[in-house]
């Protein structure tokens, strides 16, 4: 007996079920990398056997934030930079939900950078997809946290004086337990990585390179790409933090030299936040929300707390 029967459903959903039955269809520009994220997410959810109503997709603001409009599930289109705190509380409230957060590079590495660091540190069992197109798209082409140094835009007319954020290294230092980079131009790898990230028991960060054909023609289409798992130059142990850090540094540096290194960079088996917090005794075992539907026996302060004041 449950009040949330979508959770843990045995039913196999088809990929089509994750496509809205009626409008809206994606309004992204032709050739936009965002389509690839949507496709990978639909495929991955089918691969891992989730149904739309056991998924909560929380998005930020920008073109990437529209993902929740074009993916059929429970959706929460939040505000700029704040998808992660909304999403992680949902996971705490209902650990059975498949929680995915998504947003752009400005959203995750700029305005929401503090939340990125702390959500990774806490290692919530959730997936975070960052659409990295090295530009602010929806506001029409300003320099973003991942734009290369020297990048010229309307707001940095003589070129950015700042070195870009290193998103993979940042995730590693912050405590993410699964870190990967994929590219819109590599749909097969993208779907596999998204599925792995969803299955991973901890905070999974995917830096998803999504070309912006309208506002960032410089970045081209992230081709050709290299899958580091298939490249002899990068034979390393995914659970080795030091090796992972070195490979990440290479990938981040070479991206701006025209070499696109994708694949899995780090994978660590460590208890998720829910497990850690339950172990302290400060989080109940079950599903917090279910009580409101099923429990008639609620604690009263009069029984336990008033005596200490008399």
């Amino acid at each position: 007996m449950t009040s949330f029967s979508a959770i843990g459903s045995e039913r196999e959903a088809t990929k089509e079920e994750f496509t809205p039955g009626v409008e809206p269809q994606p309004t992204w520009c032709p050739g936009c990398g965002d389509f690839a994220v949507l496709k990978a997410l639909k495929g991955a959810m089918t691969d891992v056997g989730r149904t739309p109503e056991e998924v909560l997709l929380v998005t930020g603001i920008g073109c990437s934030g529209k993902l929740s409009s074009y993916f059929e599930s429970y959706g929460y289109h939040s505000i700029h930079g704040r998808a992660l705190p909304v999403a992680r509380a949902s996971k705490v409230a209902n650990p059975g939900l498949e929680v995915v957060a998504a947003g752009g590079d400005g959203d995750g590495y700029g305005i929401g950078g503090n939340h990125f660091m702390h959500t990774a540190r806490e290692n919530h069992d959730m997936t975070y997809i960052v659409f990295n197109n090295e530009i602010f798209g929806l506001t029409k082409g300003q320099t973003s946290p991942t734009s290369p140094k020297g990048h010229k835009s309307k707001t940095q007319p003589s070129g950015s004086a700042k070195a870009p954020v290193r998103p993979l290294s940042l995730a590693l230092a912050s405590g993410a337990s699964y870190i990967a980079r994929t590219a819109a131009t590599n749909p097969r790898q993208a779907q596999e990585i998204v599925a792995e990230a969803i299955e991973h028991d901890g905070f999974a960060h995917i830096d998803f390179l999504t070309q912006c054909p309208t506002w960032n023609k410089d970045a081209k289409e992230y081709v050709p790409y290299t899958d580091i798992q298939d490249d002899d130059e990068f034979e390393f142990d995914l659970s080795d933090r030091k090796d992972a850090g070195e490979v990440m540094y290479e990938a981040e540096t070479r991206l701006y030299e025209g070499e696109v290194l994708t694949g899995r960079f780090f994978q660590q088996d460590r208890p998720s936040y829910g497990e850690e917090k339950r172990a302290t005794g400060e989080m109940p075992e079950g599903h917090l929300a279910e009580r409101y539907f099923e429990d008639d026996d609620w604690e009263r302060t009069a029984d336990t707390l008033i005596d200490r004041h008399t």
Binding site: S9, P20, E54, A89, V92, T310
Partner: protein, 628 residues
């Protein structure tokens, strides 16, 4: 309230045990049959810095600090760092004495620890002159010596209580009982020995004061707690099982009480990276079906502005508490003020659609917090408890049975899966969670994980299933639906009677106040009436939606109204004028924004000045009505 109350102050340095000692004394007095009220004054500092707590006790209910005080226990500051007279912050060594000279009433009693405040230090003050002038009774005692000889030096505070008891004719039984409850072993024995020794030494003194502890008796068992306790307990009794926050004085009290108790109530507390996250987490938890709250004080609440608007737009119920302190910016972290009213009413872009309630006292803090939870979850909007350092920190005795209530965990307008099976969906199977035709503006929500309930929540304007929409007709329909919730809430609140009246209906003059000043104003009204002034008062709690009818009825019945609040720009009077412009020339303001709470006497004087056209003395401002 009577002048026969005991108003006892313990003064020392932060870290000298001033808080715990005062709480124990207040509790002992309560157990002895008296009603008690405490008022805290402390610096934003961990060790040292002048701090005091005032305990007021009487044989009838005390709901406010009094005028001045009548017994000073000056422990001295064992962490004093600035012994020079020209120090920026004054001579800390002498502060526990000299800072109180202006407030100690005529005929008052002073006990000071001569072990710390030695002859030389005291000689540098004008204690002798002031004592003679005011007929004070001064008893130096070596409390440090007594503590050292019979226990440990840190037990000076216990020695001070022993001396207090002897000088005021107070039975130490209840205080001993509290020591036994709180401690064990050698520490307990030592404290008891110190208490007894100090009591005996003080009892042997030759005394000439006539101040004594009043005698009282309770009809039923009393509990002593702070406004922060009442807010937190109401949240727990409302079925709140999630809190997220970031520490900030004075909101930290509620956060701490919730964090310490939520696990055993089956809930979760999350301390997070900042207040933006704190508010966003509460939204996430609530969206996922858990009754959730967050809160902060002014600066942290400012960071919550954007999530607050998100909750309004996505119609996600959350409860926030805002504990005001003196601003702007960091302001005075440990001092009280009511300067955030406009901030809380209007912060975040767009038209506000929220519930804001400011309880007037401890009981209201409990009742109205429950009401805010109920309304926020029934109407799916943010509900805010607006209080301040004063209400959050002051302790009061109240009948324990007051809190003997049934829990109210109802999650409000939420559907079950059975309901969802019969609910309207669009052609794609999405639940029309934001349909235009909700009753009183409310469309019941589904919760992620429910079969048949999926929808999109978005901070954008949206159509019935949640998809983004910029269609003008949809926009107007959705705005009107959301705003209609405030009208429905106002109708419910008109039944709730949150505005508290005091004094006869046909009085000529009125005093209008809001939030935590209420009971101090009521005490001033009692005193004014005893002096022949025909005055009544109203304490307003509902701030959004504003109680137009109730306040208009009050203002229409009086010739002049004095609006009492703790800020410099008369924010509540401004709000009232905006809602009830026709009373603009009826209202004058009595304002205080020096970080201290009003004393009843200041309101008495402010009222008289307003009627007579005089200027009041002290740190208050009288701002006359604009005129006809």
């Amino acid at each position: 309230m009577t002048d026969s109350s005991l108003m006892w102050r313990i003064a020392g340095g932060s870290g000298d045990g001033i808080d715990s000692t005062s709480q124990n004394l207040a509790k002992a007095l309560m157990r002895a049959g008296l009603h008690v009220f405490t008022h805290r004054h402390y610096p934003s500092r961990i060790r040292g810095g002048h701090t005091y707590v005032e305990v007021r006790a009487a044989d009838e209910p005390v709901q406010s600090r009094g005028d001045g005080f009548n017994f000073l226990l000056a422990l001295g500051d064992s962490f004093a760092r600035n012994p020079q007279d020209d120090a920026y912050y004054g001579n800390e060594r002498r502060k526990p004495l000299v800072e109180h000279f202006d407030d100690l009433n005529e005929g008052g009693v002073i006990v000071y620890d001569s072990g710390l405040l030695d002859e030389e230090a005291v000689a540098e003050t004008d204690l002798e002159g002031r004592a003679a002038e005011n007929n004070w009774h001064v008893y130096p005692m070596d409390l440090r010596g007594i503590a050292r000889d019979h226990g440990r030096e840190v037990m000076r505070n216990t020695a001070g209580v022993g001396a207090t008891a002897a000088l005021l004719g107070m039975d130490t039984t209840y205080f001993e009982e509290l020591i036994r409850e709180a401690m064990g072993g050698d520490i307990m024995e030592a404290n008891l020995a110190v208490l007894e020794e100090a009591y005996e030494r003080a009892a042997a003194l030759e005394t000439d004061h006539d101040l004594a502890v009043p005698e009282g008796d309770h009809e039923e068992e009393q509990a002593m707690m702070s406004g922060s306790n009442a807010i937190a307990y109401a949240a727990l009794d409302s079925g709140c099982r999630f809190i997220s926050g970031y520490p900030m004085t004075p909101w930290t009290d509620v956060f701490t009480i919730m964090s310490q108790n939520l696990p055993r109530f089956g809930g979760v507390s999350e301390q997070v990276e900042d207040e933006i996250a704190a508010a966003a987490l509460a939204i996430g938890a609530s969206h996922t079906g858990v009754k959730a709250m967050s809160g902060s004080s002014g600066g942290g609440f400012a960071l919550m502005s954007e999530p607050l608007g998100l909750a309004e737009m996505t119609e996600t119920p959350i409860v926030l508490v805002e504990a005001m302190r003196a601003g702007p910016s960091t302001g005075m972290p440990t001092k009280t003020e009511q300067g955030d009213l406009e901030h809380v009413l209007y912060t975040s872009q767009g038209d506000s659609c929220r519930l804001v309630i400011a309880p007037g006292n401890l009981e209201e803090a409990y009742d109205q917090t429950r009401e805010v939870f109920r309304l926020a979850y029934d109407y799916q909007l943010p509900g805010i408890i607006l209080y301040d350092q004063k209400l959050g920190g002051e302790m009061r005795s109240v009948s324990a049975s007051y809190f003997d209530r049934e829990p109210a965990p109802d999650p409000g307008s939420v559907l079950t899966e059975d309901d969802l099976a019969d609910a309207a969906h669009d052609a794609a199977g999405k639940y029309t969670r934001y349909a235009h035709d909700g009753e009183d503006g409310v469309v019941p929500r589904s919760v992620p994980g429910q079969e048949g309930g999926r929808f999109l929540a978005t901070g954008n304007e949206s159509m019935a299933v949640g998809h983004i929409s910029e269609d003008p007709d949809n926009r107007k329909a959705q705005m009107d639906r959301r705003m209609a919730k405030l009208d429905a809430i106002r109708s419910e609140l008109d039944e709730a009677g949150h505005q508290t009246l005091h004094g006869p209906e046909d009085a000529t003059y009125g005093i209008l106040t809001w939030g935590s000043n209420q009971d101090t104003v009521f005490e001033a009204v009692d005193r004014l009436r005893a002096d022949g002034h025909d005055v009544r008062a109203m304490g307003v709690s509902d701030l959004m939606p504003y109680p137009e009818t109730e306040v208009a009825d009050f203002l229409a019945g009086v010739e002049k109204a004095l609006v009492v609040e703790m800020n410099a720009t008369a924010q509540f009077r401004g709000l009232t004028q905006r809602k009830l412009g026709r009373f603009g020339s009826t209202m004058s303001s009595l304002l205080k924004y020096d970080g201290e709470t009003f004393e009843p006497g200041e309101i008495v004087e402010g009222f008289e000045s307003n009627v007579d056209g005089n200027e009041p003395s002290g740190n208050v401002e009288l701002e006359h009505a604009a005129g006809d």
